[in-house]
């Protein structure tokens, strides 16, 4: 199917060329290039985690959850502050319990009264939730910068130094993050495919009314979905918190995850993962290799193109494939 779709092919080809160009023109040593690539993939894993939260909720309840970033911040703050009092594992479990309560409250107080409203109103409601959670999280847990210690060595490790000149520096923490993300995705897909609750979730995602008519309780399903999104937010929050410290800016990560969801397709968890990796790599590559070129060419006051690169990439992609990579094709009827 993809073979006949020439705009997609063209875009993919352009991306591929862009990807290998720095290497082909000898603009960077191969070791450094692979470092950038790995860095991009690692960032991509974290974007994927946040994007998965979006996709899960959108799929099951048709709500575009702008508050996912705020949930990540809230969860990270909870873990960071609780871990000061108790062992990390207990703190994580407790934080998950808090996220479940939060999910239940959101379903009760926000979603249920707004059922059958149009998409924009729901989007706005989640924006309201975002503001509330940002304020609430910082009132409850404090607004300083906190650290989450995972007990993994921070110093980078040199690998393959006999293959490339200078070797490659990698962070053990990043590998741990990738591993956890992979585990989470596997666990979720088993949950969705094999358990009866998972099947119910997929039924609701397919068709609300049909699911309801065969006796699936919508409200409970929503609580479950938001709880799972809370779990995903928790994992993402721990990863980001361990990497960058827990602070308000974590909440902004969600904005980076938005192009990921539209690239992957709102309704697809697989799309979120692949989209996250594409965006992560593309963004890092653009910042490192395209940025200096642009600064020189247009006489800019500094780079920072990673702020918008992901969006423009996703936008270009949407122009040729409006439903995203794995989104469901939509047929309009009058």
């Amino acid at each position: 199917m993809l073979a006949r779709n020439w705009p997609v092919m063209l875009l993919t080809a352009a991306l591929m060329i862009g990807l290998v160009l720095p290497l082909a023109t000898k603009a960077s040593p191969p070791g450094f290039y692979i470092e950038v690539l790995l860095g991009g993939l690692m960032a991509g894993v974290l974007y994927s985690l946040v994007a998965m939260g979006f996709a899960l909720i959108f799929k099951a309840s048709g709500v575009f959850n702008f508050a996912q970033g705020a949930m990540v911040l809230f969860a990270a703050l909870a873990v960071a502050r609780l871990a000061e009092q108790m062992p990390l594992a207990v703190a994580v479990v407790l934080a998950f319990a808090i996220m479940v309560v939060l999910a239940w409250l959101i379903e009760r107080l926000v979603l249920r009264p707004l059922v059958n409203q149009e998409g924009v109103a729901l989007l706005m409601a989640t924006l309201g939730v975002t503001y509330f959670l940002d304020g609430f999280g910082q009132t409850l847990w404090g607004s300083d910068i906190y650290k989450i210690e995972l007990g993994i060595a921070k110093e980078p490790v040199m690998i393959l130094d006999n293959v490339f000149q200078g070797g490659i520096l990698v962070n053990k923490e990043d590998f741990a993050a990738a591993l956890v993300a992979a585990l989470l995705v596997t666990a979720l897909s088993v949950f969705f495919q094999k358990t009866s609750t998972g099947r119910a979730l997929r039924a609701v995602a397919d068709d609300h009314q049909a699911a309801q008519s065969i006796g699936i309780p919508l409200n409970r399903i929503w609580v479950i979905v938001w709880s799972i999104a809370g779990l995903v937010a928790l994992v993402a929050g721990i990863m980001w918190g361990a990497k960058l410290g827990v602070q308000f800016s974590v909440s902004q990560v969600a904005l980076k995850a938005l192009p990921v969801v539209i690239l992957g397709g709102f309704t697809s968890v697989n799309g979120a993962i692949l989209g996250g990796l594409i965006i992560g790599v593309g963004e890092k590559m653009a910042e490192v290799f395209l940025g200096p070129v642009m600064v020189k060419m247009f006489d800019l006051a500094g780079g920072g193109i990673e702020n918008w690169f992901a969006y423009v990439l996703a936008l270009l992609f949407l122009l040729v494939r409006p439903e995203g990579l794995f989104g469901e094709k939509h047929i309009d009827r009058v």
């Binding site: 009264p113 707004l114 998409g119 924009v120 309201g128 503001y131 702020n307 918008w308 996703a314 936008l315």
Partner: protein, 354 residues
């Protein structure tokens, strides 16, 4: 008893088509406008002008612009502050490079430039819709934010990236004091409101609404989607461009690169949601609400005499703001304009509601 249309007969087409068909409405609006022009300048304090009335007037223009796109044409945009930025920087550069131009012409040109940019970023709306489009408009927000922060030409190579402007001058009249600014903005707002009202009840507005209600059906009955959507983007961005230029020149005077950031875009969206989508009156209510609420939330701890730290206060303000948004959406999803309409309906039957 006082508010009803019995006995008001329309005997000409003009009377049938007028903007406010009920005489009491016409009188009310007339009195309101006269009050705003003649009484408010003497009654209000400088603080009231500078921190409430002037932002309110400018943001109302921007909210009308956004409402034309979101409320009437049904295309969601979370990036409209970007078009305000385009208007502001366009006006800055026009004044800087062509100082002989009249400010009104600068304002119009800034609006047209913003309209051009708006059309450019409106092109994706032909392919993607709904929430996908909402995210796509964020591309405009982040790209334009970056553009004005990084490309030195736009800020005239200022080292900090911030720009400052001289007071607006119109035919020798220097709009400098709060009262003058207020009168100038009020006049502009009235012009733009009347213009918008006539746009939305004319054929172009009907095309937008048909697009909003069901785009495929609209296409079938012969409405060109390209034309309808792009005009909506263009006119909406025009309004926001003008509002942005006014925000920069009249309200701020000098501004930082990120003065028109995502928060402002979201606030514009809140305005039209709280005020009422697809209602011009709602833009006024929404803008007033969003301008006044943060000030109230800031002041509330002082009035209550509670001694809390500023950080806690700002977090609490965030919480209350978010909770209020959700509350409003639940209680009245059609906005304050709907409440107003209900009130008017009730008033027509009062005091005998049966």
């Amino acid at each position: 008893m006082l508010y009803r249309e019995n006995g008001q007969f329309k005997s000409s087409y003009a009377a049938d088509l007028q903007m406010l068909p009920i005489a009491q409405d016409r009188w009310f609006v007339l009195v309101l406008v006269l009050f705003a022009f003649l009484a408010v300048p003497f009654l209000a304090s400088d603080y009231l002008f500078l921190s409430i009335l002037i932002p309110f007037l400018i943001l109302t223009i921007a909210a009308i612009g956004l409402n034309l796109l979101v409320g009437y044409c049904g295309q969601i945009s979370i990036g409209h502050a970007a078009f305000m930025a385009v208007g502001a920087y366009a006006a800055y550069n026009l004044v800087l490079r062509l100082p002989q131009l009249n400010f009104l012409i600068v304002l119009l040109l800034a609006g047209f430039i913003a309209a051009g940019v708006g059309m450019l970023f409106g092109i994706p709306s032909l392919r993607i819709k709904g929430l996908y489009l909402a995210v796509a408009t964020l591309a405009a927000q982040f790209f334009i934010d970056w553009l004005f922060a990084r490309v030195k030409w736009f800020t005239n190579h200022s080292t900090s990236g911030s720009v400052s402007t001289a007071p607006v001058e119109l035919f020798g009249w220097i709009v400098d004091t709060p009262v003058e600014k207020y009168v100038f903005l009020l006049a502009l707002l009235i012009v733009f409101t009347v213009l918008a009202k006539n746009l939305v009840r004319g054929h172009i507005g009907r095309e937008w609404m048909a697009m909003r209600d069901m785009d495929v059906a609209a296409e079938v009955i012969g409405i060109r989607p390209v034309y309808a959507k792009l005009t909506a983007f263009a006119i909406s961005a025009f309004y926001c461009g003008v509002a942005g230029a006014l925000w920069g020149f009249v309200h701020l005077g000098s501004w930082e690169p990120l003065a028109f950031n995502l928060t402002l875009s979201l606030n514009l969206l809140f305005m039209i949601i709280i005020g009422g989508m697809g209602s011009l009156l709602g833009c006024y209510f929404g803008a007033a609400f969003i301008v006044i609420l943060p000030i109230l939330l800031d002041q509330a701890p002082l009035w209550l005499g509670v001694g809390i730290s500023t950080a806690t206060a700002s977090h609490l303000a965030f919480m209350i703001f978010g909770a209020l948004i959700v509350f409003f959406l639940i209680v009245e999803p059609h906005g304050l304009a709907r409440l107003w309409a209900i009130g008017k309906e009730k008033l027509r039957l009062w005091p005998f509601p049966h």
